[in-house]
């Protein structure tokens, strides 16, 4: 009984792990959206130049 170990409290690591997951995914989604908008703007400019 005296030597029984309690479950270690590693909540900080768990929170850090999930924060990193959601953080990286959100950054990647934003990068996709930004690149998409930049490319669409480039197409508009290039099509204008072509005419």
């Amino acid at each position: 009984m005296f030597f029984q170990e309690a479950t270690p409290n590693t909540s900080v690591y768990m929170i850090a792990g999930y924060a990193i997951f959601f953080g990286v995914i959100i950054i990647y989604l934003i990068s996709l959206l930004l690149r998409w908008n930049i490319l669409k703007r480039d197409i508009q400019i290039l099509e204008g130049m072509e005419k």
Partner: protein, 233 residues
């Protein structure tokens, strides 16, 4: 450019809903393991590594298709698969490192074959992205990239098997028939098993969703490249 097809819109919603359910299952459905709350990282860690490796293999298939057909659409698929897998595998390495700190009291173990081979694999594909940046001509770029992706894909089975071949001392084997592998309490209950496989399924759906978006972006990049050539002429 075409607006998003209905199937992609449905997939967007399905991915978000599945991710929410998977997160809920990890925190509220699966029991807390004896090793503490950090064990909950494991569900997303394995799922990220799974789709990362899946994507690298998908890229190898696309590279073979490109080398056979010289159709640029396969180059777009290959790049999409590698870019997304790089992101997922980076997350897997980060989550693994955080779990290691909680469990082993160290961020990294150089004597762990899986950690080392995983890091090398990530660097191989990071170098792929750099290689692409350095080649101007689109045909040459696609050809070199396809060969590189194909050779690089050898790192996937090596990484997967590294702890099986070398009889892992530290890295937990989640699914194994090896009797002397480290026994982990990760899948001790049916709720834990269900959560684990649900996470694998969820991340597979998210991967398909993201690769679809990335292919559409790649097609747009191709269009810009063609328009630039036209304007310059």
């Amino acid at each position: 450019m075409q607006p998003q097809p209905l199937a992609l819109k449905v997939l967007n919603i399905a991915s978000a809903v599945l991710l929410a359910i998977a997160t809920g299952m990890v925190f509220f459905y699966a029991q807390l393991a004896e090793s503490g709350p950090a064990q909950r990282i494991f569900y997303f860690h394995v799922a990220n590594a799974w789709v990362g490796m899946l994507g690298f293999l998908a890229a190898a298939v696309a590279s073979v298709a490109y080398l056979r057909t010289h159709d640029i659409k396969w180059d777009v698929v290959e790049l999409a698969a590698i870019e997304i897998s790089l992101v997922f595998f980076f997350i897997a390495i980060m989550l693994g490192s955080i779990w290691a700190k909680a469990e082993w009291n160290t961020w990294w173990r150089w004597e762990d074959n899986r950690l080392v081979t995983a890091a090398i694999m990530e660097m191989i594909y990071f170098a792929y992205m750099l290689l692409r940046q350095g080649i101007e001509d689109s045909d040459r770029r696609a050809r070199f990239s396809a060969v590189y992706a194909l050779v690089g894909s050898l790192s996937v089975p090596i990484t997967f098997m590294s702890i099986r071949w070398a009889n892992a001392l530290f890295h937990p084997l989640v699914i194994s028939t090896v009797s002397d592998a480290i026994k982990t309490p990760f899948l001790a209950t049916s709720e834990m098993k269900l959560t684990f496989f649900f996470c694998l399924f969820t991340f597979s759906v998210i991967f398909i969703n993201l690769i679809w978006h990335r292919i559409r972006l790649g097609n747009l990049e191709q269009k810009v490249e063609q328009l630039k050539l036209k304007v310059m002429q």
